[in-house]
């Protein structure tokens, strides 16, 4: 008798674990949207929230926070009702990328500016500063083939297809100061490291502070180059011009079972806005008619 009870309970245990594996097919639109976000302080998060018009806002109450790109992708892959955002370069085939305002998220649409969740990452500088010498050479490097390969290797969108090779000038020495946007900063640090490798006598200092700092330091001459992560606004730095180093794009991703193919920026805002109130979108049936 005892043995039978033990045997039956073991079978029951095994069966209950096995049932975890079975998945129903077909997408259930009555499910609540599982809103997935990155942790506070993530560059992707602040860029995304800014692009959908929720700059500096906290997440909605029901948010599930995933720390890191891999965790976001794993969650969307496993959770049929999840929605998330991630840098375009990291999107894999395990998840489905949704068009935004009818435009597919890909490098071409980011280059031609039709994809909405994208922004230019630029340097601003005084033209007179960059007429000759070290600064001119560095700007040439930013537009070179060498720089473009670093840009695409780091999952940013390179916007120059036919970039010239950088020509090393062994007479160059000195230091270059770059400061500003923390969105461009990680890429700029990589570019600066490569430049220091090509020109061993040159030191490039990259510091953060935000786009505002980038404008200010370029305008008052503190830094040779200021970094900004938005379209150049002349009123912020009247004596400066800008040069777009690269663009970054953020894709909206859902589970592969999900039947949605297009979403608008306004709908994203209604999903991610904690103060949306009665306009909030909480279930998939509000998006998939």
């Amino acid at each position: 008798m005892k043995k039978i009870i033990v045997f039956v309970s073991i079978i029951a245990l095994v069966l209950s674990f096995a049932s975890c594996g079975s998945k129903s097919s077909g997408f259930d639109t009555s499910k609540n949207i599982s809103v997935t976000a990155r942790e506070d302080g993530s560059g992707t998060k602040s860029a995304y929230m800014e692009l959908i018009g929720l700059k500096g806002k906290a997440d909605p109450a029901n948010v599930v926070i995933q720390t890191g790109t891999a965790a976001v992708l794993a969650e969307v892959k496993n959770n049929p009702s999840a929605i998330a955002y991630e840098s375009l370069g990291y999107i894999t085939d395990d998840v489905k990328s949704v068009s935004v305002n009818g435009v597919a998220a890909n490098a071409d649409n980011i280059k031609n500016g039709t994809y909405k969740l994208s922004r230019p990452l630029s340097v601003v500088y005084k033209d007179s500063n960059v007429k000759s010498g070290l600064n001119k050479a560095f700007l040439a490097f930013l537009g070179s083939k060498d720089a473009q390969s670093i840009i695409s290797d780091n999952k940013y969108v390179s916007i120059y297809d036919t970039a010239p090779e950088y020509t090393i000038d062994s007479t160059l020495s000195g230091s270059i100061d770059v400061s500003g946007s923390t969105s461009l900063q990680p890429l700029m640090i990589k570019l600066a490291a490569e430049y220091e490798k090509l020109q061993p006598n040159v030191k490039v200092t990259v510091s953060g502070g935000g786009s505002g700092t980038g404008y200010k330091n370029a305008e008052n001459g503190t830094s040779a180059f200021g970094m900004i992560s938005a379209v150049f606004d002349k009123t912020n730095a009247p004596s400066c011009v800008s040069y777009t180093v690269a663009k970054d794009g953020i894709a909206v991703i859902v589970n592969k079972q999900n039947t949605i193919s297009n979403i608008t920026v306004d709908q994203l805002k209604a999903i991610y806005n904690k103060d949306a109130g009665k306009d909030a979108i909480t279930t998939w049936s509000q998006l998939i008619k």
């Binding site: 049932s19 993530s42 599930v64 926070i65």
Partner: protein
């Protein structure tokens, strides 16, 4: 004095210094961590206000006017710890009892070793297990609102993690009870079950309680496994299937990315957590001492 003797003296005092250094090292580490926590948190507490910090319900650090309130996280931590302790201690205590009296003696050691193996599994593996098995299972089969993350998922994972602590401490406590208690109660006509549950377990009470406190300490301090299954939304817990955030998760989620005042807020969260674990550890040693005194009394 000859040369050889003074050399030995010098060597001896050198080794003595090394031993003292080693002995002091851990004390020094503890003190420096305390100093780091309290010194870095003090300006933050002074600015935000301890009351505001502990009882504020809004955690919003990205806005222009940030607010730092960790009450939702404190509550979530307490819920998760309580629920995981209830599940873990129930299973763990019954396991210890069964190993002690009811299990086939040939496999007792094997089972004990397997349970102790649980203690050696890295917490990130528990997190993965929770993320890939427990959360989807709860989401698809148990949860009413389609959310798998939350207090229940974290509690299930944590209860497995605290099992080895509960089982081994309770087992040792049961073994420390003189066997004459058991034999005596059988002689008085008690059944096996009555003897164990009415005599042995109550006699081992303080030892078992010490194990429970140790398990609570582990549950409240666990970070990696919890962060992967808790969801992470800093809101007041309203149910067991809801994305919430514990104190440990709050620190770990921001520690690598945040700067400025927000980091101080995380350190202050660390102070709160530190105080919690300190209280637990002190009560553990008190309980342990009481248990040892009792056992010493029994033997005389």
């Amino acid at each position: 004095m000859n040369k050889a003797y003074s050399f030995i003296r010098a060597r001896e005092s050198f080794m003595k210094a090394i031993f003292i250094f080693c002995a002091v090292f851990s004390v020094f580490a503890l003190l420096s961590i305390c100093a780091f926590l309290f010194i870095s948190a003090f300006p933050f507490f002074a600015k935000t206000g301890v009351f505001q910090f502990l009882f504020g319900t809004k955690w919003d650090i990205t806005s222009a006017t940030p607010s730092y309130g960790i009450l939702p996280m404190i509550i979530a931590s307490l819920y998760v710890t309580a629920l995981s302790t209830v599940i873990g201690v129930t299973i763990g205590l019954l396991t210890a009892v069964s190993l002690y009296k009811f299990c086939n003696k040939k496999i007792v050691n094997n089972i004990k070793q397997l349970i102790n193996l649980l203690a050696g599994i890295p917490s990130v593996i528990y997190g993965l297990f929770g993320l890939i098995i427990v959360v989807p299972f709860l989401r698809d089969n148990v949860s009413s609102n389609g959310v798998g993350y939350g207090i229940l998922a974290a509690s299930i994972v944590l209860s497995i993690m605290i099992l080895p602590t509960v089982v081994s401490v309770s087992y040792d406590a049961l073994c420390a009870v003189p066997s004459s208690y058991f034999e005596g109660s059988l002689a008085l006509g008690a059944t096996n079950e009555q003897a164990v549950f009415k005599v042995m377990v109550p006699a081992a009470k303080s030892g078992i309680l010490a194990g429970v406190v140790l398990a609570i300490g582990r549950a409240i301090g666990e970070t990696m496994a919890v962060i992967m299954v808790i969801g992470g939304s800093p809101v007041m817990p309203k149910g067991i299937f809801q994305s919430v955030r514990t104190l440990t998760a709050n620190i770990a989620m921001g520690a690598t990315e945040l700067t400025g005042e927000a980091v101080n807020a995380l350190i202050a969260t660390g102070v709160v957590l530190f105080v919690f674990t300190l209280i637990l550890n002190i009560s553990f040693s008190l309980l342990k001492n009481r248990g040892e005194e009792k056992n010493a009394k029994r033997k005389t």
